[in-house]
Structure formats: C-alpha cells, structure tokens
Subunit: 236 residues, 2 copies
DNA sequence: CAGTGGTCTAGACCACTAT
DNA sequence: TAGTGGTCTAGACCACTGG
C-alpha cells in the first residue's frame, strides 16, 4: 500500500474511533511527519486526499480540522459505487427482476460508446433499504468489458466483483438527476401511486482509462430519498 | 497568482478554445514542464486540480485526457456558489421578496452554529432561469460575518460580494437533497400545482476557517431541475 | 523497452493566524 | 513573532501502457 494512502486510512480510522466532531483539531504537519517518519509532501498528500473526501479541512496558519456534518440517514451522492459503500451502514438488499444478454437500446449504446450490435448485460433490480423500496434500477454493462455476470453476483455488490473478481480499475462516473412524476409501472414496483414524485438518476461509470462500462437508470422512492453532497473550495 | 493555478487556468482555457472532446489527449508531463518552465510537481499539482474539477483524467503509462460529458442544460450540483458560476451560461435572474435583519429560527441557528438571539440577514427570493421559475429560496446569513446586505447585492451575486466586497474566503459547503410534494404556497410562487413534485435543497456554506455563514433552503421547479454530479476515483 | 504518469524525499522559502 | 500550513524545486525511483 502506498504511504500516503496508508496514512490517510490511519487518520480516518483515528477520527472515527475517537468520534471527533466538526472543528476538532488534528496534530500539526510537523508532528505527523515525525510520527509517520515521512516527508512533508507525503503528509500533505494524505491530507489533500482526506480533504477531497470531505473528511478534513486545512487552515493555513492555524491547523487541520475535522469536517463532519451532523445529519444521519443521508446517502452520499458521491461515495457511490452504485451506492454500495455507504450502503453497508444502510442494510441494502436487492431483488433481481431480469438478467440477460441483449443488444443495447440506442440510448444505452450512446452512453456506453458502443455500436448497436454489440452485446450488453441487462440487469433490472428493485433495491430495498431497511426492507423499504429504495429504487427501481436498470443497468447496461458493456459485455466486452464485463464479460460475465450471474444472479449471485448482481444480488451482491456488482462493483466489488468488477474490481476484485475481474481485476478492473473503476475510474470515475457522471451522474444526471431529474425530478418527475412516477409512471404506473414504476409506482407498482415502488409501492407508490402514479403521479407521485420521483427522483430519476442516470449514471455512466468509466474505467480509469476512460472507457464507459456501465450505464444505469434508477427511479428512487421519494420517501426514502435523502441525499447529500459535500462541495470543496475549488468549486466555490 | 500561484503557478499551478495559472497553469490549470491556461490548460482549461486551451481545452475550451479548442473545443476538445472527451478522450482527447493533452501534451505529456515532460512537454508541459518545459513549456511552462516549472518543475514536475507543479505540473502534477495543476493536473490534480483539473482532475478534482472533473476536467481531465490521467492514465498512468498512457497520458492525460479530457473529461467532458455530452449533455447540455444540466446544472452542476458542485460548481455552485448558490449556483452562480455556471449560471452565467444559464441567464439566471432573481426577484427579491423579502430582505431584513431578524433573529434566526431554531433550525437556522443550529445550522449556522449561533445563538437564538444573534442577528441574521434573512433573504427570500424567486430565481428564474431563461425567464422560467427555477426555485424559491430562503437564506439566513450570520450577520456577525456578513455585516451588510442590500437589495442591489442580493439581486446580483451574493457570493461574489462576499469574496470581493467583504474580502472573505469561502471554503466548503454541505448540501442535503430531498424529493417531495409542493405545498400550496410553494406551488403559487413556482407557477405549479399543490402536490406536484419538488426538489428540496438545503445548503450550509462555510468560510475556509470552517465557520458557517449561510444556511439556505431552496425549493426547485421540477420541470427545470436537471442536475449533474461528477464523481472521482477515490469515491468509487 | 521506450514513453508516460505516480510516489517520495529534503529542503528553501512564502503566507497566514494567533497571541 | 512563533507556529503552522502552502508552494515550489530537482531529482531518484517506481508502475503501468502500448507498440
């Protein structure tokens, strides 16, 4: 493991275990340098990583502080992997409705950057949070990248299988959000009524080399839809 | 201006002016080093910044590539500053409904981390996008930080005034999203009907030193609500 | 195996904060 | 003005990609 990643993990663990709250101060750069026996740049890199993740903020001339909001029960729009990572805190389960190999729709082909006669894995699932319907999701996986899927895999964490099982490196994702009214079919799956509000989410996931491998469309139950996003300074 | 910021700006401008598309390659690190006459770390820092912003992605052993999605008309949930920055592309206007100094609600006091008897500026606005109602927004500004506001300022960009006019450094924000049904009052302001879907957004903005200065609650017109978020590798 | 990006170091110097 | 974080350099060495 890389030094700066290791240090970042240690610091994150430290914050977690000591239940540090927003605004609490971490040791100074100098101290961390000597404690971890690395150069200043390496510590800086660790802290930049934690800052990107929204876990700390650094104030020149003052110190390094914990960043942590107070609200519980919100799902991060960023720490995502089809949301699995923080779903461990959330008891998420899935019911698979369809799984097969087929040709992509025009829309899927466009978003996956493939031809209409290439194969994709098509997955349709209902996902539950604490036993309540969270969303109805359709996914298209580029079969020339994701070469094999089965029922067991997609009931668990697909993204974990992609990294560990297939040895692929997941890079980045683009996510598009709309608010709209439920259709009759969607309402049925979610246990709501036609015309009720929905959050509609499309995501395109890419490997580190930029190739899109997953195009997903999800319709979220508005009653369970509490999301949050952390924004950093360079955006403001 | 810092070197790495300057270089990042130049590269961003270059990508913009040459209308480079997703996947197009930028010059190698070595080339950039010699062109800009800086050390490798400085170039790396520039590129890391652009990567954070979702403008490029780097592939070890291969090169530096432009990252850019294809969809138009989406508002970034991150490049926000109350959304002003990318609103320049969007012709946003505001109508001020209320502006006064008052005591905060419990909710506002909690989120701004102040006492109930401290003063806040209260601002209520309807915001329009291309002349259509985008959202109804209520904001609470900590008056001990934002010492003065008037109608002219809040019709323009509040955040610009805070940085330029007041010389304050805006640091980071936490944003919480819900989907729900419009109340009668909200529907009236947005020109929709009671019970229609809404996106409800709460944001807490902080200075670089971690002090919250603005708590805002916005109700978005679902017909104009198209948002996107870019996720980077360290989250996946 | 050549080219390209990533990690890490040691150290100089700068900019801001708190007291 | 002491303490603390931020920028920048020059260079060594590592890890991955692609022909």
């Amino acid at each position: 493991m890389l030094k700066y990643q290791h240090i970042a993990n240690e610091l994150e663990k430290y914050i977690e275990e000591h239940a540090l709250q927003q605004g609490e101060k971490l040791p100074s750069l100098d101290l961390l340098m000597t404690q971890f026996e690395v150069s200043k740049s390496t510590i800086t890199k660790s802290l930049d990583l934690l800052e990107k993740k929204g876990i700390v903020f650094q104030v020149r001339g003052s110190g390094i502080f914990v960043r942590r909001h107070k609200r519980k029960g919100y799902i991060s729009l960023l720490s995502n992997q089809g949301f699995k990572k923080n779903l461990e805190d959330f008891h998420i389960t899935s019911e698979v409705i369809e799984l097969d190999v087929r040709k992509p729709t025009k829309e899927a082909a466009l978003n996956l950057n493939i031809e209409l006669d290439n194969d994709v894995y098509y997955v349709k699932r209902v996902r539950y949070i604490h036993g309540l319907t969270l969303c109805l999701e359709e996914s298209y996986f580029n079969k020339s990248i994701i070469t094999y899927l089965n029922n067991e895999i997609i009931s668990e964490s697909i993204f974990n299988y992609i990294s560990e099982g297939l040895g692929l490196n997941i890079g980045f994702a683009d996510t598009f959000l709309h608010v709209n009214k439920l259709t009759e079919e969607e309402a049925k799956y979610l246990g709501l009524r036609k015309g009720d509000p929905k959050l509609y989410v499309e995501s395109i996931f890419h490997l580190t080399n930029g190739q899109p491998f997953d195009f997903s469309k999800g319709t979220y139950n508005y009653e369970q839809s509490q999301f949050f996003v952390q924004t950093n300074s360079h955006f403001l």
